[in-house]
């Protein structure tokens, strides 16, 4: 995991998503990548040999931050806004 930290600033309203079934609090206006990094998620995706990956480019090109959102595959967390009730899972076969 990476110890990412939200800076003190005005944020949107809080909301809840789940990652691999665990509830995570996030704030309106955050990307899924920010929310998962701030929550200390250890792997957004796993490679074919099981290596963990976290966001690398944060601009939609590298696909290391790909997750599954509500059964949609290969969703780039860095380009996706958090939404109340979002069910997020690790992208395992990439």
């Amino acid at each position: 995991m990476v110890k990412a930290r939200r800076l003190a600033t005005k944020r949107g309203g809080d909301l809840r998503i789940t990652f691999e079934g665990e509830t995570i609090t996030a704030f309106e206006g955050e990307t899924l990548a920010s929310a998962l990094l701030a929550a200390g998620v250890a792997a957004f995706s796993l490679t074919r040999t099981g290596e963990p990956r976290l966001p690398f480019c944060n601009m939609g090109t590298c696909f290391d931050c790909a997750v599954r959102v509500d059964d949609r595959e290969l969703v780039r967390a860095c380009l996706t806004d958090v939404r109340e009730g979002m069910q997020v899972r690790r992208q395992e076969v990439k």
């Binding site: 250890a42 595959e73 380009l79």
Partner: protein, 475 residues
């Protein structure tokens, strides 16, 4: 309905072109993956943080450009949407319209237009070395965009490494956010004051950018951040939650000289420069040319920014990475050319002004190029170990690629290696391994990166659900 112009990318180039064409009375549709206009360079905080704008320092014109773009009624925007391919309608041999395949949050759709402008920007230049896939290793652009537009500090202890001047600005921003910079590693010597002074006459209108750099440098020195020159990150290992970095001394050609030291960090921010995003241009069949100082493979174009593919124009970083000023000027010029090609009368004075802006921006870009062009072959040598991952998506390691080259002496092109090894066949479509593969072929066959060619790019240039294919058939 058929738009007069479709634009991919709402950064400075795309916005400037959209305005030039819309102001001439034509219809324009713009597609961008981000939630709001601005592109990577002006990536803005979300509206939920309560502001229409973030800080666009040191580009004072950005705010007005964005506001004019957002407020223009003739510009239709499709945000959070990926342009994944370009198709053509033809009548016999003649091209009659372009069809942009777009993946939107609600499915696939087809945007039909008479002209197309690719203003697709650039991404951080990938450099492979042992450990570059580990959690905590990020591009400088990633660390910066998390900080600026999401108000998120990726980690407390950061090493900033690379060769691009933006690394200094990033380090200063990180210090402002309360991060500790363990070290700044620069692959080249920092530009001396003399070099800076010599370059100033070439940059009228760009003094603010250098001023920003000088301000950043002052802050870094005040914080007593260690700065290593002629130093690259050559290896990262991860134990528990800490990255241990090996920083290696290099000579003036960026070749390792043997002296190393180690430093710990939570996050490594890598910035060796930028690679133009040319995938859509390749997919639609535009000719490319090799321009190392401009970021690698760039899209060839004429003085009006028309590519070799009929009705397809290009502006901004895909023509050669040259920064936001130049992108704005190119987008404006491309927009005027497109408007003229659609039948608008453009005043000679307007064209002359656009040319002057281009020329001014070009001088500055030229200075940046000569100062900061990466030594590509030397950087590629950082990944020569058997086990080092070259293709992040398919986890293709250097040993696989070198074995393939040894066993198949008839293989000389990047595309042939891609087909044999699967390197470049994953979701990122080869963006992060193409140059390393090409450099490896060049090293083994003793040719050049350019001679290895580039990967063929296919639709979709970014993966999309198969349902989106189905949807684009709906009229």
């Amino acid at each position: 309905m058929t738009q007069d112009l479709a634009i991919v990318g709402a950064g400075p180039a795309g916005m400037a072109a959209a305005l030039a064409v819309a102001e001439a009375g034509f219809s324009v549709a713009v597609v961008d993956e981000q939630a709001r206009a601005g592109g990577q360079i002006f990536r803005r905080p979300p509206e939920a943080l309560g502001e229409r704008h973030g800080s666009y320092r040191p580009y004072p014109w950005a705010r007005e450009l964005i506001e004019r773009f957002e407020d223009h009624p003739g510009i239709e925007t499709h945000f959070r949407s990926t342009a994944f391919g370009v198709l053509r309608d033809r009548d016999g041999l003649a091209s009659t319209a372009l069809e942009l395949a777009v993946s939107t949050p609600t499915g696939g759709r087809k945007l039909t237009s008479r002209r197309l402008l690719l203003a697709t920007g650039a991404y951080d230049m990938p450099v492979a070395f042992p450990g570059w896939t580990l959690p905590g290793v990020m591009t400088a652009g990633a660390v910066q965009s998390l900080l600026k537009s999401q108000k998120l500090l990726a980690g407390q202890r950061v090493v900033v490494a690379g060769s691009h001047p933006i690394q200094l600005i990033l380090a200063a921003q990180l210090l402002d956010a309360g991060a500790e910079i363990s070290e700044i590693a620069f692959a080249r010597d920092l530009p001396g004051l003399v070099e800076m002074a010599q370059s100033l006459p070439a940059i009228p209108g760009h003094v603010s950018i250098f001023a920003e750099g000088m301000r950043a440098l002052a802050k870094i020195l005040r914080h007593r951040v260690p700065i290593s020159r002629r130093t690259v990150v050559s290896e990262v290992v991860r134990t528990d939650n800490t990255l241990e970095l090996r920083l290696s001394q290099v000579d003036s050609d960026w070749k390792k000289t043997g002296a190393d030291h180690r430093v710990e960090a939570d996050v490594l921010a890598l910035g060796y420069g930028f690679t133009p995003s040319t995938e859509l241009a390749r997919q639609v069949g535009c000719d490319l040319s090799w321009n190392s100082a401009g970021g690698g493979w760039t899209v060839s174009h004429d003085a009006g920014f028309q590519s070799s593919a009929p009705d397809v124009f290009v502006a901004g970083e895909p023509t050669g990475v040259a920064g936001a000023e130049r992108a704005w000027a190119e987008g404006h010029m491309a927009g005027l050319t497109i408007a003229a090609s659609l039948g608008a009368a453009i005043q000679p004075a307007t064209l002359a002004r656009a040319r002057r802006r281009l020329a001014g921006a070009a001088r500055f870009a030229g200075v940046m190029h000569t100062m900061f062009e990466p030594r590509r072959a030397a950087l590629a040598e950082l990944s020569r170990q058997e086990e080092t991952v070259i293709c992040r998506c398919e986890e293709i390691r250097n040993g696989t690629i070198e074995d393939a080259l040894q066993n198949n002496p008839f293989m000389q092109s990047a595309s042939a290696v891609k087909l044999e090894c699967r390197s470049g066949m994953g979701p990122c479509q080869g963006r992060y391994c193409e140059e390393t593969v090409a450099a490896r072929i060049a090293a083994i066959h003793e040719t050049s990166i350019e001679a290895s060619g580039y990967f063929n790019a296919h639709l979709p240039v970014k993966p999309v659900p198969l349902q989106d294919y189905r949807d684009i058939g709906d009229e």
